[in-house]
Amino acid sequence: MAERAAKRQAAGGVDDKAREAYFTASQGQLIWARFKRNTSAMAGLIVLVTLILAGLFSPFLTPYDPTAAGRDMSYQNGAPQIPRMWDENGFSWRPFIYTPERFRSIKTNFRWVTRINRNKRRYMTFLPKGDPYKLFGMAFRTHLFGVDKGKIHLFGTDAAGKDIFSRTFHAINTSLAVGTIGVFLAFFLALIIGGISGFYGGWIDSALQMFTDAIRTVPAIPLFMALAAFIPPEWSAEARFFFISTILGLIGWPTLARRVRTHLLTERNQEYVLAAKLCGASASHIIRRHLLPSFTSYIIVDLVISFPYMVLSETALSFIGLGLKDPVNSLGVMLQNVTQADVLLNYQWYFIPVIFFIVLVLAFVFVGDGLRDAADPYAETRK
């Protein structure tokens, strides 16, 4: 389209600048120009950036500490509290929620029951001081919002009284971190193994391919489960976190390595590589300066596309109790208890984080797809 537009303008003799800009644009600018025209990919990008920022600033955006330190003893398994501006008692400029009260009497068989008192309002406050947290190495106490009395739980609370809203946002952070480490490790291995295989070819290639194919046939999750079960239970949450990320990276490399290899195999016979060789360039120089730049865009696209699978694998593993454990928050950790009939029937707000994760994964998929189309220089001529 840009080509056509450029041609049209050039033919009219109106604007040579657009044409000039098109022909002198760098690869990055061209990709960005194509990407911007893809509405669904742009929407995905906006959502993705929002979610990433929300994850990064989660301690500020959420009112409470996501671990047991921030739990609300008086509101366990509590339903979501939706702020409102008016009710039968009148209108308020400041959004408010009601106060839940626990009571028991002969009517409730002396069991504790939570009842909402509509006459006692809790008004929302903005930028209150709350649980301490660290952001970029600095200590803060200010949160975006809170309530004047007691606590507010937009998404309800879990069995321990932990705020699901706070946990969800912190979980985004965890998932992104696990995914990033996993993707980069996979990428690193893929680049080395695929690079060696594709650049040297011959028997090295055959041997490495045999090895890669063998790895690819092993179902990763069952294998991982086998290994994860042997993690000593006394490992700290951080140690587990790095272990899981590493494993995800170790599992993820073969597909990427294969793609790197295929690309190198076709590229290394191109004239520009021959020219560099004739000029006396070393193997590592050719790889770094000529071959890698020829497919950076593909690599970036592959990384973005493989990201959601890392996130999903982590979620699945934590969910079955073989991944991350409690003080760390991730979607899988949060969903650990939901298969119980009790939760399914009575506490459906446990599922609210799921929506965020579906959106996160979808955003990644859309952006990845958009990038793939944008990075393909022949996409326009083919249509």
């Binding site: 063998a214 046939t217 999750i221 294998l223 086998a226 994860a228 959601p308 399914l344 459906q348 859309f366």
Partner: protein
């Protein structure tokens, strides 16, 4: 024919080599895990109240042959594994092949059925979406297949459970009705099984379908722009006949080729889904074997079996592909000869 047999033979050798490499990786991993079978069994007995000494552990190692060198044990393990004998489970002290045979076959059946379901949907849908120029249809299909990717199977399973508990008050779990659980296989048992198995099959098929649609669509849209299709159209062939006879035949090759890896993906999701639906097939048995008792003998056997079935499927699809496509046959023979 002789040529074809040679090709099949080469492929069989390659499959066996792959299995040997895999078995080596799996076996080494199971060795690297802290503690061995003897310690584990005796530690288990210790919890049952019998006192255990170091001498007992050494004697048990001797009995299990764990004091032999690593390579010897690996060789003997793989030798027996190829004969379908995986030794005894570390903790349960039961013959593993006996323990697994039924459960493994059920898992395999469910996984293959899910795969079949996925392609039964994906082939027509993928072809339609590659050829149709209707943007509404295309975008809907894209969205559905994205959802299949983004909504992991275990979440889907949870949603279905949530829904069925809310609506029917019944959580649709298990694979057999109680009266058939230990009964020998019969027609009634099979019917009962099918009545329960559709849910895991559907759930596993869900994301497999999403993947398959994307693959079929990508392959078809690559082929459909090629000159031979235009040439066929110029000769007056059109509609489904054209698609079936020209681009679909070309696109089918890579699809058959990737079936093994699709099975891999289904296996990856099997244990998680199985856990939610509390099915008693190999998947959930794997979790049980691992999460509770760290049984490396059992774990190794299960992973070997799963990988073995993927390698076997890869082998069969290669043979199938060679039957359908002489180019593949020649390329393999050309390299090995």
């Amino acid at each position: 024919m002789g040529q074809f047999l040679r090709f099949a033979f080469v492929r069989a050798i390659m499959a066996v080599v792959t299995l040997i490499i895999v078995s080596f990786i799996v076996f080494s991993l199971m060795e690297m895990v802290p503690g061995d079978c003897a310690e584990r069994y005796l530690a288990f007995k210790n919890t049952q109240g019998s006192g255990i000494s170091v001498a007992d552990i050494d004697a048990e190692r001797e009995r299990l042959g764990l004091n032999r060198p690593f390579m010897v044990r690996w060789a003997s393990w793989i030798w027996h594994a190829f004969q379908g004998d995986f030794g005894e489970s570390c903790i349960l002290r039961m013959d593993i092949s006996q323990l697994l045979s039924d459960k493994f076959l059920i898992s395999l059946g469910i996984a293959l059925a899910a795969l079949a379901l996925a392609y039964a949907i994906a082939l027509p849908v993928g072809i339609i979406s590659a050829t149709s120029r209707n943007p509404v249809l295309n975008n809907t299909l894209r969205l559905v297949s994205y959802l299949g990717l983004a909504l992991p199977n275990f979440l889907l399973a949870l949603m279905i459970m949530l829904f069925s508990t809310m609506v029917y008050g019944n959580s649709l779990t298990g694979l057999f009705s109680p009266q058939y659980r230990d009964a020998p296989w019969s027609w009634d048992k099979f019917v009962d099984f099918a009545g329960h198995a559709w849910l895991p099959i559907f759930i596993l098929g869900w994301s497999a379908t999403a993947f398959a649609i994307q693959t079929v669509r990508a392959l078809m849209s690559d082929e459909i722009g090629k000159l031979y299709v235009t040439a066929a159209r110029a000769r007056g062939i059109s509609g489904w006949r054209l698609l079936r006879r020209y681009p679909a035949r070309h696109a089918l090759g890579p699809i058959i080729n990737s079936l093994g890896f699709d099975l891999n993906r289904v296996f990856n999701e099997l244990p998680v889904v199985a856990l939610i639906l509390t099915l008693t097939e190999a998947g959930s048995l794997l979790i049980e074997a691992l999460a509770r008792s760290n049984d490396q003998q059992l774990a190794g056997a299960i992973i070997f079996l799963l990988t073995g079935s993927i390698v076997a499927l890869n082998f069969f699809t290669d043979i199938l592909l060679a039957l359908a496509d002489p180019r593949v046959r020649h390329s393999i023979l050309g390299r090995s000869a």
